[in-house]
Subunit: 165 residues, 2 copies
Amino acid sequence: MSELTAMPVAVPPVDKFREFLLTKGMRLTPEREAIVDAVYASHEHFDADVWVEKLERRKGGPRASRSTVYRTLSLLEEAGLIRKVARSNDREVYEHDYGYPQHDHLICKKCGDMIEFPNELIAEALELVAAEHGFRMSGHRLEVEGICANCSRPPQRLHRKLDMI
Amino acid sequence: MSELTAMPVAVPPVDKFREFLLTKGMRLTPEREAIVDAVYASHEHFDADVWVEKLERRKGGPRASRSTVYRTLSLLEEAGLIRKVARSNDREVYEHDYGYPQHDHLICKKCGDMIEFPNELIAEALELVAAEHGFRMSGHRLEVEGICANCSRPPQRLHRKLDMI
DNA sequence: CTACGTGCAAAGCTTTTGCATGGAA
DNA sequence: TTCCATGCAAAAGCTTTGCACGTAG
């Protein structure tokens, strides 16, 4: 997630989450808080296993079991804090959906890289389509598949000068 | 798949498939043919299990095992005859990608209905984005999520006249 | 005292794979 | 004879769930 800049947010994710939980009569436990913190510590894409690995046998700080991680990710999604962007290696890939501008992804079939791009144009087009169909749109998932610039470039030698001889 | 009209195709799917298999040194077996026929018998969306159920213990006509169905669907996808459109109930959902105009889907979270819409605008936007990034696009998958017109309409009585009293 | 949460292990699912058998070229 | 394919059953992998135990309120 290198191209787009994070937007400053008024309410920190944790608070947003606590709020959401309240409306459902649930609590912000240390485990849940640990997961939100972890997830929002960086803007990288991630899957459930990333946090299971880090939180299950953690030394310092609160731990969280595999079940709790999965359960909490579902809650975070429901709360609108994260969203599923794609599938990779049979795993759901998530990213922040709060405090971050709308975008979609070009996914390289070769190296697996995910390139973000802002999607205003597409979002507008979708608004139109939805309106036409009386469809109350709540979100979308767009995965564009292909080969990225790097991977489609023919392999080059490290020392360009040699080519000029 | 009710909104868009099928386009007449010069080469029938089976032939297209046979052609594809040839280039890979593979054969069009009765099992494979049965699966293509089944898949192209209607324009409905489908998942692997649909055909496993129908073909595994079929009485008349050629059968095909679960493995063969999965393997053949992969081949059909590779051949460009079908494509994955979405996931539903943890299953990949496919549709025809040959002899059918390009489109994407509005998916109703309530009734699960998938509404197709032509996607020229979006395709164009994607061409642009891809070009900007030197990305060689080979396809995309767009799932628009929300509530369809039917499901968002408040429940109505069958006899409208009663409402007019 | 009641309701919500956690962790563990087991179950659930779809999809993939190894392997022996069978058949086309 | 030599590959390619099939079918069966087992494996793989992620994700979900049942259950007993804790604990906040």
